[in-house]
Symmetry: C2
Subunit: 346 residues, 2 copies
DNA sequence: TTGTAAGCGTTATCAG
DNA sequence: CTGATAACGCTTACAA
């Protein structure tokens, strides 16, 4: 019996027609009963449900979707750095993916996930292909080609994104200004007097400007003048941090603490300053921004500002569904919190 | 013009019929030309492709799938601990999810992801609903109800899993024995003489037994007698590690190093022994297994055995596709590597 | 090489 | 409240 094996491995194919026969009703009644249509009498519904259970019937979603014209699915595109080891992906993105899936599922949607990193695999025609009703793009602003690609999609596309480099995108984003203010106040409370910001107000990265702005106004609120030590463009973040810290140390500018607009910059600065013999956190305090994984490994581990990824996922989904429904606005700012570790003194 | 806004936000609906008209051919020719059917003449194909491009045509996948009877999709179910914060999920699982998506996409499949944690949301009828052609379940063996649920699905279901507690599941797994041997040899090389295993040979966790077995035979190969310090059942892993270490210290059994069958157990032991004044790694060396995130945070950071998650994702997909094709066997063991950190001496 | 026509299994619109 | 009967948009025999 050679065929038997193959047959055994096939999932049975039961249609609504079979259920109709089993329950002694019409096919459309089956559809309505199972969909919870209120016009079906309770006895009939029960009969149908029982028949469906007996036959182990499950709706063929493809047929249903074809007919309905909706997929009940959201696409999530994870943008990676080209050629980057997946393991090095910021764990925040993974957590965000998880909470996005959870939020989608809470709203009755499935999630189709794809990882994209370069021109060969950029793809966002989920709606046109009727694979999904909308799209969420999660990625680092660094991957410029990716954002160019997604920026040029049909303007009618329903989508939201995390990590977009510019305001022209339908973004959801951390509350960067509040986070920066949190960092500044923390440093002030811990007794640091001269806080310098390592960053840029002209970076294409929207976030960086927002973080600097938050820093600057928190400083002014505290009656202090903001000081910006600019990072050089076109270098790896950690290197930017190193160099900016070196430049700061050599400038003669008095400082006793650093607020860096990203964790990687903070980590670079931390290494540079520790290498120059500064005691951290006693002599110099450092606070980063992002809650990147490596921050926990450093010596001392990095105090940082972290976004609430649970809320982030929920906001992404809410905003996308609102866009799909043609509703104009929902919140796009995700709350942040301070994670105190070892790079600021107790 | 109130309606206009809504219309503008709708993705255009172009069918193969429209393309056929535009190109002056029949609908089936369009389908064949776009699918790369060799029976279509090159000029015709070009005409069709041009017409499709002009109209911005994209295949409606639902219709295609309904007709074909296949979905071109794999489902990935991530099993979480019920009520556990997603952030605390072992980052290995996220990395595994990523590499699984990549491997699936390399084989031309989409990936439908869902996070499930308790009876209310366990669900595995992807094939019956024609939502996916097969399923990959990734999860911690701890979530017993989840494995019970998935174990009771239709035996014809095409699926593979990572983290299954028993051999009865279609598993793919780390090369636990090789990993344990790696750990033992590392400790021997670093000059530890009396290596005790913290674990169990009777745990429902298949992995634990395999790791113990690997430890035991590596010890015998080195002419040493294996010593097992059993963990107590039904406690949190870290607590198991603590207690086992305490019991070991008080037993009078001579030891200078510990191989724990999981990182969390190792971490518990590390804390317990450090608390009792043992110097780590000088007096006592400790090696864990899993590459768990917290291991990098501990003082000293934990030396451990890590699985190659890139290969893991690829193997999961390979094995699933083979099962779907009715082919019997593909490799199910994922290679491991030693990550030397600070809990073993240099 | 291309066209015709028959479904795939639903949901939704009409009647009754 | 329920039953016929059209679509939904594609792929694939079967003809030509």
């Amino acid at each position: 019996m050679p065929q038997t094996t193959d047959t055994a491995r096939r999932i049975t194919r039961v249609t609504s027609f079979d259920v109709a026969e089993e329950a002694g009703v019409s096919q459309s009644t089956v559809s309505r009963a199972l969909a919870g249509d209120t016009s079906i009498s309770e006895p009939t519904r029960q009969r149908v449900i029982a028949a469906a259970a007996r036959l182990n019937y499950q709706v063929n979603e493809n047929a249903a979707r074809l007919r309905r014209g909706k997929t009940g699915t959201l696409a999530v595109v994870m943008i990676c750095r080209a050629g980057q080891d997946r393991k090095d992906l910021n764990p925040f993105y993974f957590a965000l993916l998880g909470s996005t899936c959870a939020a989608a599922s809470a709203r009755g949607y499935e999630v189709l996930v794809s990882f994209q990193d370069s021109a060969e695999n950029f793809w966002g025609h989920y709606e046109e292909r009727r694979k999904a009703d909308g799209m969420i793009v999660i990625g680092t602003s660094e991957n410029t080609p990716a954002w160019e690609y997604f920026g040029q999609l049909d303007p009618a596309t329903n989508w939201v994104c995390w990590g977009a480099p510019s305001d022209a995108f339908p973004w959801v984003r951390s509350d960067n200004e509040a986070g920066a203010a949190l960092a500044v106040r923390h440093m002030l409370v811990r007794g640091y007097e001269r806080i310098v910001c390592l960053g840029s107000e002209t970076s294409p990265q929207r976030q960086f400007k927002e973080r600097y702005d938050g820093y600057a106004s928190a400083m002014r609120d505290a009656g202090r003048e903001p000081v910006l030590q600019r990072i050089e463009r076109g270098l790896p973040r950690e290197e930017q941090g190193r160099r900016a810290a070196a430049a700061l140390a050599e400038s003669g500018q008095p400082f006793d603490s650093i607020f860096a607009v990203s964790d990687e910059i903070a980590l670079g600065a931390l290494k540079e300053l520790a290498g120059r013999g500064y005691g951290i956190p006693d002599q110099i305090g450092i606070v980063g921004f992002d809650g990147v994984r490596a921050g926990a490994w450093s010596t001392p581990p990095l105090t940082t500002i972290e976004s609430d990824f649970e809320t982030a996922g929920a906001l992404l989904v809410e905003r996308l569904l609102a866009a799909m429904a043609g509703e104009p606005e929902t919140p796009r700012r995700v709350p942040v919190r301070l994670v105190v570790r070892g790079s600021t003194r107790p």
